[in-house]
Amino acid sequence: MPAELILTVAVQGILTGLVYGLMALGLSVIFGVVRVVNFAHGEMMTIASYAAIVAFGAWNIDPLVSMIPIAVLLFALGYAMQAVLINPFINRPEHSQFILLAAVAIIMVNGLLMIFGPDARNVLVEYALDSIEVGPLLIDKVRVITAVLAVAIAAGLFAFFKLSRTGKAIRACADNHLGALVVGLNVKRLYALTFGIGSAIVGAAGAMMTLLIDTTPNIGPVFTLQAFVIVIIGGLGSMPGALLGGVLIGLSEAMSGLFFAPSAKTMFGVAILILVLLFRPQGLLGRKV
């Protein structure tokens, strides 16, 4: 097998992995603060993808443009979910939270199935097949654009949490729930805000994802699992960890597709997850709990 081919596939895998990482970042942010596992994460991404597909089909809006209103829409959805459904569950046992979100996930997947049917859909923009020549490698243009955007959004989010007052307040809630209450932070509102931000990120990722893969309602649960795999590999709550996990998964998918069968790709991701859970449960970049 020529080295150029392997290298090309690896680079493509890493670029796709950065978008995966952005998607998982939403999950990581939510878990890191609210301590609730968003079992409907991939399903929310699929909703965003369908929104982008509809926007493109009806008004010919490029997903890279429609991702902004879609992120706003998903923010509202996430905010409402946290405020209405999840806040009453904050002190319930883990399994009831899990079941609550699993129920939401089931409704989302099958709601999409009812509306859009089971067929795969995608967005074919004009530059979909363009590629960029880097030395001997030919890299898809859409992958480069989406990867750059993913990193930019992640950097923006990082700055928000580090620098803004609201971001600091949210981190305070994450570090010490009781302490945050004592100093008078409105924790419920901040939780809803965090869930909204995490959802907005997954919304942006979902819109971008339409350029990279075909969308069907059933990819929702697949991406939920994918997001979990990524954040656990990278370290739940660690923002650079999510991107690193995404890159690793993107790379392992690309390589397993090249050397084995594309359909076996999830197996490698899951295998990495099992190894990480067993030998470094806090994740590669996570802090020890």
Binding site: V37, L85, P88, R92, E94, H95, S96, F98, I99, L100, A102, A103, V104, A105, I106, I107, V109, N110, G111, L112, L113, M114, G117, P118, P217, P221, L225, F228, V229, I232, A261, S263, A264, T266, M267, V270, A271, L273, I274, L277, L278, P281
Partner: protein, 333 residues
Amino acid sequence: MIARLLHGVPKRALLLLGLLLAFLLVAPLFVGNYILSVLILVLYFAYTGQAWNVMMGFAGQLSLGHSLYVGLGAYTAAALYVHFGIGPWAGVWIAIAISMAAGLVIGFLAFRFGIGGVYFALLTIAFAEFTRVGFDHFMWVNGSGGFFLPVTQYSVNDPLNLRGSPTMFYYILLAITVLAFIFCRWLLTGRIGYYWLAIREEPEAAQTLGINIFRYKMIAVAISSGMTALSGVFFAFYYNNLFPEQIFSMNRSIELILGPIIGGVGSLFGPILGAFVLTALAEALNDIMVALGYELPGVKLVFYGFCLLFVVMWLPNGIWPPLRKWLKLEDRS
């Protein structure tokens, strides 16, 4: 032993259970094929839910990958039957052993490395998914193309090879479900049941009291996975076809646990009640949809989702505890 099983159970509860059993025993004489197939589904979910409940309801370990054990049981028994001519009643032991081994490996890794709660649940999903994709490429059982058992005429019942009419399957499944119910009651009323209760409610306190948490969690996983394998064997011989995509899927795992959650996690009758309620509602919904000439894929599951949402929001312990109170059937022990 019987005294122990019956201790503290109100007479009316026994009477109602007896009535339910009598109804289930005579039901095939009166109902048509369609209702019979629905009843088989009810019993299937009741039994499998009971098996899952041992792990989650009794010992407090949330498994979201129980389709793994169903699938391993089903594939083992089916492959032994097709490739080596080993009948299901011999194969079932191997199926149980393999599922138990898988459960014990997962349990060992998780409990040894202190993985609990959400992480444990994710680990169970991960193993189920891993196995699903693995079976997609496992050509000995025809990979993703599906594995088929030879379908025989239903004119002669051959219970030894589990080949026969739905009525035969129904009675076998009924017997299994009743035995599982008694077995679980026996577990709960014994020492191990109280250990599990302690581990579920206060693991640290349980450990302080000298309970070997690791061992009793492992026992719960072994019993649960072994019992679940049996429902896989039944599934294989009843439906005669197996696809990794279906049997190992995460959706299947979730479908299996809906019954006990809606009925009442941790209670003995919860999984049975949940299976009745859920299956009956789903079939009724199907009928309404068909009658309206309005058939959409996904409607049933959207409905399941809302049921689950309402139950978990307003009846966090399931339907059975409030119903039991209303029927005045509380355990008096």
